[in-house]
Each structure stands twice: as C-alpha cells, then as structure tokens.
Amino acid sequence: MNGTFLSPLLADGLAWFEAPDPVILFALTLVFAGLAGEFVFRWLRLPRITGYALIGILMGTSGLAEANPLDSAAQNIVTDIALGILLFELGSRVRLAWLRANPWLFATSLAEAGLTAVAVQAGLVWFGVPAPAAVAAGLIAMSTSPAVVMQVTAEIRSQGQVTERLYVLTALNAIYAVLAMKFLAGWWGFDTFHDGGRALLTTLYLISGSLLMAALLAWAVHRLTRALDLREEPGAAVLFGLLLLTFAALHLLGLPAVLAPLLAGILLKNVDPRPWLWPRHFGTAGGVLVLLLFVLGGANLRWEDFFAGGLAGLALVGVRVLAKVVGVSLFARPSGLGLRQCLALGVALSPFSAVALALVLDFRVSHPDLGAALAPVLLSAMAVMELLGPIATQWSLRLAGEVRR
C-alpha cells in the first residue's frame, strides 16, 4: 500500500537527482551559496567566500555541477566579469607614487616574490619533481589570489598598513608571475629548445599589448565617469560591458586576461589623482557575480584534488607561506613595518587561485609533459588554499588590528 503510493514520487525524486532540472539547480545553488556564505560569516566568523567555495566543492563532488545550466560560454562571462572587476579594483589601489616614496616597499615586493619562487622550486625538487617543472611551479606560486584579497578585505572593511601593502604586493606579484611564466614559455618553446630572443619578443608583446588594452579600458572608464555615475546601475552595466569587450579583445590578441584589467586600474589611479569612488565590486550585481566566481571555482574541484599532489602539495603550501613571511620581513624596518605586521602581511599573501590556475592551464597546453608533472602538485595546493587562503587572510588582518567589522 505504502509502496504503491510513494514509489512514483520516490522514483521521480531519484530521477531528478540523475538528471536535475538545470534552472532549479542553479536557483538552489544561489540560495545555498548565499546561505552558506552568511552562515560561516556570522556564526563561524569566517570569510563568506569559504561558504561559497564549500557549496561549489559539494556540487562538484556530488556530480551536480555537471547539470549546471551555465554552459562554458556563460561561465566564462561570469568569471571574466567577476575577475575583471576584482582586478580592476585592485589596480586602482596601487599608487605608484608610494613605491617611489618608499623604495623599500618595492624591494619588499621583489624579495617576497623572489624568495617564494626560489623556495617553492627548491622544495619541489627535493620532493622529486623534475627541475624544469619545479621552476615553473615556483614562478606560478609567486602570485597571490587578487580575487580572494579583494573580497576578504572588502567584506571586513579592513584598513591600515597591512591592507594597503597587501594590495600593492598582490598586484605586483600577479604581474611578475604572468610575465615570468610567459617568458619561460617563450624561452622553452614547444620542444624545450631555449630561445631567448623569442622569449623576449613574446614578453614585450605581452607587456605592450596589455598596456595598450589597459589604456583603452582606462580611457573608456574615465570618459564614462564624466557621463555616468559608477555608483548607479547604468554606470555599472556599461562598465561590465567594457570589461567583457576587453576580455574578448584580449582573447583575440592572445593576451593574458589578468594583466590588462589590473593595469587599467593602475593607470586610472595614477594618471588622475582624484579619488575614484565606486561601491565595492560595483554594487550588488557585481557582488553576485563574485559569489558565482567562487562557487564555480569550488565546483571545478573534487575531493581527490586535495590529495592529488600528495605531501609535495602540502609542502608547497607551507614553504610558500614561510617564504612570503620571511620575504616581507627582510626590509620591514626600512619600509616602516612592525614585526607583527610582517607576520600578518606574509600570511595574508597566501591565498592562491585565479591567476595561478590560469597560468597552470596555459602551461599545460603549451608544455603537456612538464604540465603533467607539476599540475597535480599545484592543483592540490590550490584546492587546499581555496578553503584556507581566505581564512588565512582574514585571520592575519585581524592579527594586525585592521578589521573594522
């Protein structure tokens, strides 16, 4: 009796799980990601993105992510705009006059990035990763995740020296990582045949091409602000459109997605010293895109990824943080930073994802063999940091006493 009554429903339910309705799934994703973000933020005092990423990872692991109604084109649109917004915001926090006034800060940046590259490379070689792959991994490991840094600092509205330096160092190490990897890819060519000339040309092309695109974007935004208020919806819509156009052009020109929006922000801040005022992530719409960025980031992960790299992956995480802490401490005194602040800054620099992931994927395409050797290690480090990175940044900003909420 019971069986006959329930079984059709049960069967329907099971069928739904096998082939879930994509729209309902997407709706539930938004609901649960939002709730999870708020839950971890309010009750566990963790960054909201940790909640978003957890929902993403659950979806990915359960296989539900396959039914995502966002096809890859739509996904790219979402992640491009979200990442573009965050990079652009980050760039607009970099005042070049500061680097001129405090050259020790620039030295700190070089030390932090350089030490990370060397330490990670040495560590991986010790773990038996082939030297060329280890070099590439070291360069990729220089980069801090701009997305995590921007999201976490905005969420807790942190303010102070550590936060300010976190912005500058994150922007710079993203630039170093992209340029160094492209140089390396050009140098090694497809057959690991060393070609310095080609490497130099590739890098020059990247720099000038990205600068040009950045200048165009910055110019367009500058013009835009005369006509529209970026704090209102129409302004934000036009800005999102401009970002997408930029990404389309970058794709056509074979230029990395990271540099141009970042440089555009830097150009805007430094060419016109007037304060640039826009709400964080350009309002609520941008905020939702950022949420999706982290859900999708999580959905690309599987639990297996956490262990893919084995001990080497975990070691990479540890060595990288250590190198960053030591790197920022080297010139702390002349650059005007206290010891506790150094610890905070070094740990705050540990998030590791978006920029690095793009570089890993690129490298795997251009150098399949080496890529295969380093991808598992880097991916598992990234998987671990996807969850720990935001927490580390939040914790260190608290340690530095810069949190306002």
Partner: protein, 377 residues
C-alpha cells in the same frame, strides 16, 4: 579628597617667561584611496621614531589623529620654523606609509562609529566614561599656550582674552562639514566640544587662591581629578605656567596656525600692558552669543561688545583690534602675522570658506580632503 590632595592635584603655578608661546596642533591622518580617516597613528609614530624627527609628536584619542607641539617659542618666526620642521618630518613619514595628513577642525565625512580608540589606559577610560562622545570627539583643534608672569596675572589674562574668543574662532574656522554634510557653521567642531559636561568657560575668579578654592570644591564632588578634566575654551595650565586657548580649529596650513598664535600673543601683550578694560563677570553675558555667532557665521557673525553693548561684525572688531595692536606687533615681531590676519579679515576668506569653495568646484568631499592634504604640505 581633602583640600591638600586637591591642591596637589592642581599643583603650583610654574614659572614661565611672560608672553612666550607654545602651539599644539591635532592633525588628521587619511588614506589616499577615498580620503577617509586612516587608523595609522601608531605606524606614523614608529616611522618618525626611526627617522629621528625632532620635536614633540604624540598620539591622540583615536588612531586617526596625531598631535604636534612646538617647544617654548619667543615669536611668530620661531613658531613657524618649528611647525615647519615638524610638518616636514611628518609629511615625509606619511609619504612612506601612503597616508595623507591634513588640517581642518573636522573630517568632512568620517563616520564616528568607525573610529578606533588609541590603545592607552587613559584613552580607554575616557572612552568608557563618555561613550560615543569620545569617538564623536574626533575633532581637530589648535591650542596656543601663552606664558604668564604669575598665577593671578594668568587668570586676569584668561578673562581678558575671553572677549576675543570670537576672533580666534572666526580666523581659524575650518570645520564646516560633519558626517558628510554641510552644517552651515564655519566651525562645527566646537559643537562637539559643547557636548562635554565640563566644557564652556572658566569660573570668574581673578586670583589663584580663589581658583584653588573652586578647584578643591570641584575635586571634593569627585567630578574632576585634575585640570585635564575641564574642557574649557581657555584654561590655566599650572604645570607650564601658561594659559591655554583651545577654541581654534586646526587650520589648513601651518602658516595660518602660526599667524593665529602670533595674533593671540599680540592681544595678550596688549591686555597685559595697556590694560584696556577691567574683566568683569558681566562680560560673560554676551559670551556664548558671541561665540555662537563666530562659529555659525565666521567673520560675518555679530559681535556684541561686552562693555558698550554695541553690535558690529566679528570682522570689524578684528580690524579695530589690529589697529590697536600695531606697537605690540612691532615689539613681538609679529607684523607679518598681523598683516595676514588683516588680509583674512578684510577678504572674509577663512579656511571654512576655502573648503566650501573647493567642494563647490569639485563636487565631492573626498576630492576636497585630497586638496586639504595638498594644502597642508
């Protein structure tokens, strides 16, 4: 508390050279992104210590304020030189930390609830007692100390200078904006000071004995424990042997700050030497009215002469006073400062007017604060 305890808390009135000067300025620390207040006093103090900047630089109650103070100065040019050294050292340190420094009696759009109390026991104690008033007290003033020959002379000078309070307010006013809005005042900062229970004016007593009696009575009520608990417009500072004029907003430049100090010094000399009038309790009948007029309307405010009851503008009273100060300005080498004061009075352009003009031109408060920073260095 017994009478002798109270006397100890008040202390003896120290020796100081008459008419010497000391200037304290409270400054704003802002970020260079949206020009809101930045909690970086501790970082600034650390860098300053490393660089060995000479002079007195101290934290203030919230972490976005810093105070500079000159030593004991003889005249306008010495004040200007000392403030210049302090400013240059501080600006260099600020540059290193990517923060801006500026004058102005209030920050135009800071949110008081976001202020952090600088980490010392006294500041936490004050914060606990006054609650939001302490954070809302994120206002920035200039204090000028004038050396007095003795305690009784100090009190006579204090009550004499009270007549000129509207001058000092109107010439220094630089706080038209509070919490993101134009208050209509030239100096809105003083409205935050009013909120404190022990603000206002000193009691009308002209001898140190009477003052000690007053202080002992107050101390007995356990409402106050030291002179620091009085937030009067002018108060005696027995440790220094000075009286301290506290009604000025921090001006937008050290030049203006030095000018104000020299102007006060000249008025003090005029009062001490010429004794143009005898201070009386009844002078205070128009005190709060005059003070309000200067805060609200600046140089255009109405000034009621406490002796004659005549009405004129603050500007006209300043110009008349400047005419009477000429010989004193010469003696004190303050001619330059008095010329500047005259120019401000004649043009009617104080710092508050300047700020309003910048805002009108630029349309946004953060840009106005950025230009405040440019003006400071």
């Amino acid at each position: 508390m017994s009478a002798s305890d109270a006397a100890n808390a008040l202390g003896c009135f120290a020796q100081s050279r008459p008419l010497t000067l000391g200037v304290e300025l409270e400054l704003q620390i802002v970020n260079t992104h949206d020009y809101d207040l930045a909690p970086c006093a501790e970082d600034l103090l650390r860098v300053i210590k490393q660089q060995g900047v000479a002079g007195d630089i101290k934290p203030e109650i919230t972490a976005s304020m810093i105070e500079i103070a000159t030593g004991i100065c003889a005249d306008h040019s010495q004040v200007l030189a000392e403030l210049g050294t302090l400013r240059d050292g501080l600006v260099a340190a600020a540059r290193k930390l990517n923060v801006g420094l500026c004058g102005g009696g209030t920050h135009a759009f800071q949110d008081w609830s976001e202020r952090r109390i600088f980490d010392t026991p006294r500041f936490h104690q004050i914060s606990e007692l006054y609650g939001y008033l302490a954070k809302q007290f994120t206002v920035f003033g200039q204090h000028v100390h004038i050396g007095c020959p003795g305690p009784d002379e100090a009190l006579v000078l204090l009550h004499g200078l009270s007549r000129y309070i509207p001058h000092f307010i109107a010439l220094s006013a630089s706080s038209p904006f509070v919490q993101g809005h134009d208050t209509g005042f030239h100096s809105a900062r003083l409205n935050s000071v009013f909120a404190f229970p022990l603000s206002g004016r000193a009691p009308f007593v002209l001898t140190w004995d009477e003052f000690s009696t007053f202080f002992a009575k107050m101390a007995d009520t356990r409402v106050v424990a030291s002179m620091k608990d009085f937030y009067w417009d002018i108060r005696p500072k027995p440790e220094y042997g000075t009286i301290e004029v506290r009604v000025m907003d921090t001006p937008l430049s050290i030049e203006r700050a030095a000018m104000l100090a020299a102007y006060i010094q000249c008025v003090a000399r005029y009062l001490m030497i010429e004794k143009p009038f005898r201070p009386a309790e009844d002078d205070y009948l128009v005190y709060t009215f005059n003070r309000f007029q200067a805060c609200r309307f600046g140089l255009e405010g109405t000034f009621v002469d406490p002796k004659s009851g005549e009405h004129r503008t603050v500007r006209d009273d300043i110009l008349a006073t400047l005419a009477a100060l000429e010989t004193h300005a010469m003696e004190l080498k303050a001619e330059q400062a008095c010329r500047e004061a005259r120019q401000v009075a004649e043009s009617g352009e104080n710092d508050a007017t300047w700020l309003r003009r910048v805002l009108e031109h630029e349309g946004q408060l953060p840009e106005m604060v950025r230009q405040q920073c440019l003006r400071w260095r």
